[in-house]
Symmetry: C5
């Protein structure tokens, strides 16, 4: 189902009931039309394509999910693909929005988890009525992309917090016993950061491209677009930082494992010595030679025990001093 | 053998029976000629070269397999090398297609596994008769390269699925017992991704180059070429993602091995202690001293066994608490 | 609270008492006004915005901390974000300064630890009265950024010293026993270097940008800005060096651990052999066979002990020669 | 000794006997002169410099071996350094050729192993007489560089084969027992690939540069130079592939070693347990307590042996099931 | 102390005795003045600054050591910083030279180890009197930078030799016993290579910049500067090669350690088995059961010894065949 909203002079007016009506309004050139569809059907896409006069290649692209973020300039409209993200509790959620923006219209086709909040978007339009009235298409896309990039900023800040926690846990050796171990936690967090990083680079290219379309982005809007760009760069830099931190952290973790293995093998060596030496002594006094003077001594047994204890203690002391225990 | 097909006004007309006939049609300038050869012989190449008036260097290139994807502009024609791929079940299959395209002709020389489906290609031409009629050469190459890039997309998506399965297996520790181990699976998958990645970069350069040839790619075709380009970039990005994932996965696997080695050596140390201590006790009571009070005790044997069991249990408990067991 | 200072002809004159007064002075165009606020309140920002006529987007940015270093050119003023740093004893301290500079005014909004010393800054202005009198805005920003970059230089030189100390400790094996181990020291130092490195790159971009604003940076100031740029490049290069050194050092440390493990396992193997062989001999003479000639020998016991000692010594010698001990 | 050959209208004419004669022919402008010297003496270089009018810096360069591949444009001639390679059986052989090419002359100074086959070169010139007659200098250099790059192609294909063999050996565990181990084989092969890779990049830059010299490389020659360039790019890409493969292979090999170490330590742990448990039992029954009921049993000995065997078998079974054996 | 030398028409004339005299000569415009100071005092710098009319920023820079190599263009003169190096026996020595060059003067301020040989420099000037007479400033700087880059070339060739020796030692296992181990040798060599590499990149940028100053570097000097550039590129490439070789070598060394650890643990496992099995047998015959038939056998002892020897030999044979020993 396609929701149709009509705006005039920066304010919302009565809604159009159906697409033919919207087409009339579009033709009259005095209002801004927003067509919004969630998981549009084949028929919806066809209808929107006819109303807005879309190129067959655009229709082809709109039909397929899994597009990368991009901005494509066509005659009379611009095709924008954005991938909003959020990180509610556990795993990263990724949406997909196809936006078709002209001088007097915006069509948004939203797929999957409705990650983009359209009411919040409209609220922001109406809060800046002058900007929206003068350059409705360009400012609509600005607010849309600003929402998306702000979402990225929240996500990367949350990921940064988790990476910091993980760092504390690794360096302090305070990893929770249950659940996946350090390596896997690092690996999973890194994957999410990379997923976020991947959508930011093409978005930046798209932002570069859209600023070259003067009918869409006028001089007054340029600082706004520059501002989104700035935020996108910050997201990318934060993501690179977190990724580098996680890479270093994995290296640290591997180095710590190697360190620990060394310690364990040293402890093994030390304890083997401490236990095998008295066993050797006991074996010696277990021999069946006819003449073994010590066996007849009154305190022979005590002597043997003392010998064992003494030897073990001497070894223990030596290893302790060498730092092997 | 060379198959010759003739097209007029976007539709297929009667086939030419031999090359001289095709040459006449080419001279008359009112039809589009497609010469298609699978594993062409030396004579075939010579004949095609004469009919189309190819440069000696082109002929030299066409004779040799193993060319990298490229677009070379010559006077009167463009030389395109593409390497279609598919991934039927197991390993990646790679074909090689040399295409010579002029204003009114296309020659395709296909080598090795017939990876490119020419019937499907012709079907796509005829479904867009207007485009094909107006710019036959440019659109023929467009459909050819679009087929190739779509093939890459299928391949990389399949490789991505395999990488995801491998990731689940590695993180979940659910690798099948038989067959190669995790490291080798990762290594092999990575090789295939790299093979795919290698053909995409030069193809992108070629796509850039071909769009600068106005007689071949007119304004109307530009969005189509931009679309192929977009898909090629997506293939490259997906390939980079999968490769990065596999690199991280190998790191994770190595880190897990180090972790496991630590665990194993700790278990070894713990069990050595648990077994060697009672052995030491038994050795002590196996000594042959004349005076060893315990040996005469009524419950001496039971006492010794209890001592051994107790010591072992105490050690077991200690190691259990330290998490070594 | 906003501190207001007034300068005329390169010298400081009486202070303005309040913002309306400052606004009058700004309007009269014959003096330079410096508004300085530490941790400004929302009302402060609003007031400064009104006095200087700032763009809503600038106000939005000024309100949020955690900005990356940047230079943004607006009509009539330039917005500069800098992140001064210092390294008093232990950890890196990072401040944040938002500067708004026009032809006749500078506003500095300082957040967090007051890392930037404004008295020192003013002192440097007044020491070059001619430069400050002719291009007050541009030279004020120059001195500010020069202070910041000089701070970076001190920080990176201190970090370089610490890295050199760490290198000596790792290669000489003279790491202090207490405190974190080598890997963690390397990791932490690297993090600080990366934090510094991250703020330098965008600062360099900002310095490039600001030099393109002729009303702010006149010909006379260009060599000065080039000089700051030069220092910023030097900071970046030093940081890259230290980071590369630390990466190599971690590799060295891991390689040394592997080496040491080899040595430890060899020592373990050698000592196991040296102790188990006499135990075997003792066990043999502890067997209860009715006829064991040695048991009856007069020097049987001594012979056995000699055999044990001899075998152990031979093994010890062999392992010593192979370099396992 | 300098060999002097004279060509007129694309064919070889009588040779000049000495350098003065060659100088006269050069002055008369109607023939192409080729001076070829193997390991030229100081006097030879001086003489060639005088005849061709070389710049002192060129003479300086020609005197020193170990130049990197390059193209330097001087007035009246171009200085080309190429490093032909071949891989006869074992190790890579690298030659060095200094070529000085003018409109009507070519001088080649060949050093070290005569890797470049001049007869083959001349043969190729004479097979394309028209090209050689019209642009003798440019085409002579083309054929020379084409020979060199074709040599690289043979070398890299051979190296690729060796890398594939090595990969099969590593993944299949079928490395020959004698000779260096996998790591060293990979390391050595990688060194050769890097040596090849290093000469290709500057050669590509040289090829770019030479095409900007219209008196040397006319329009007709451009496709030929583009073709050499294409081959050089292919060599570089193949070399990068082989290098990446070898890097992955070393990673795989290290990962396999870690895997194997894990297996070995597990086997060690398992066998230690299987052998120490019966030793413990035997030690128990070797104790000298006055009252140990089992010692008096009729089947006591058999019972003890059964106990040992049973315990060992149970342990063996357990470890087998856990996959440690 | 400042040494003052005067040159006229490419030859050295009588020296000026003091700075005022040098200033007069400079004003008369018909001679070239060279001011040379080793570790100049504050007063020297001030004096030179006054005589040559230097910018305050230049003076500021000249006062501080530790500058990176650079070329800065000022009005009337160019400021060049170079860092000559040499490698006398052990560690790398690094000097620092600040050069101020104008049309008719050169001032060199040399710090630290006098790594730059000024007599050799003057000797080279006077050997090319025509070049020096026509463009004294440009050619003086050319010879200076050529000296520096030639020094780098000697250093990197020496480092390359050392790296090759190290490679032979690592692959052949012929490392000297005493002194640091392989990892540390690699690490130290790499540090020196990186130190050299770091000064070359900014020098190349400086060479690029200086060639854009036509009053300093005329057409006739261009090939000479291009030649230095060429050598600088060669130094950088050699340094990259050596660094890559050392990185590969460290990887190889780590892989060899892992390999060796595997071998050692296998040997440990094998020998443990070979020694523990006869110990078990001896323990069995050391049991005190009343009825143990073998104990009464005539050749029981021999049988037991044979059993032990046989079992150990069988194990030894098995491990030998599996390649564990």
């Amino acid at each position: 189902m396609i929701q149709i909203r009509i705006y005039r002079d920066g304010a919302r007016v009565e809604d159009a009931l159906d697409l033919p009506h919207a087409r009339d309004i579009l033709a009259s050139q005095d209002a801004f039309v927003w067509l919004d569809a969630i998981d549009p059907s084949e028929a919806d896409i066809e209808a929107i394509g006819q109303v807005l006069g879309l190129h067959p290649l655009t229709l082809e692209d709109v039909r397929h999910r899994g597009q990368r973020p991009k901005v494509e300039l066509f005659e009379g409209y611009t095709f924008v693909v954005a991938r909003p993200m959020r990180l509610p509790d556990g795993a990263l959620q990724e949406g997909e929005v196809h936006a078709l923006v002209g001088r007097r219209f915006l069509a948004t086709l939203r797929y999957g988890d409705a990650v983009l909040d359209t009411d919040k978007l409209e609220h922001r339009w109406l809060r800046q009525p002058r900007l929206f009235a003068e350059q409705p298409g360009g400012s609509a896309v600005y607010f849309l992309l600003d929402e998306v990039v702000d979402g990225y900023l929240s996500v990367i800040e949350e990921l940064e917090d988790r990476a910091d926690d993980l760092e504390d846990a690794v360096t302090g050796g305070r990893l929770p016993q249950d659940g996946p171990n350090a390596q896997e936690r690092i690996f999973r967090l890194k994957r999410e950061v990379i997923r976020l990083r991947r959508v930011v680079s093409p978005l930046r290219q798209g932002l570069d491209l859209i600023q070259e379309e003067p009918w869409l982005v006028g001089t007054e809007l340029l600082p706004y677009y520059r501002d989104v760009m700035e935020h996108a760069i910050r997201v990318a830099e934060l993501a690179d930082n977190v990724r580098d931190l996680l890479t270093s952290l994995l290296e640290l973790q591997v180095a710590k494992e190697a360190n620990q293995l060394n310690d364990t093998v040293r402890a093994l060596t030390a304890w083997a010595g401490i236990l095998v030496v008295p066993t050797l002594i006991a074996s010696i006094y277990g021999m069946n030679f006819a003449k073994m003077p010590e066996l007849g001594w009154h305190f022979g047994y005590a002597f043997a025990l003392a010998l064992m204890t003494g030897a073990s203690f001497a070894l223990w002391l030596m290893f302790k001093r060498r730092g092997w225990l």
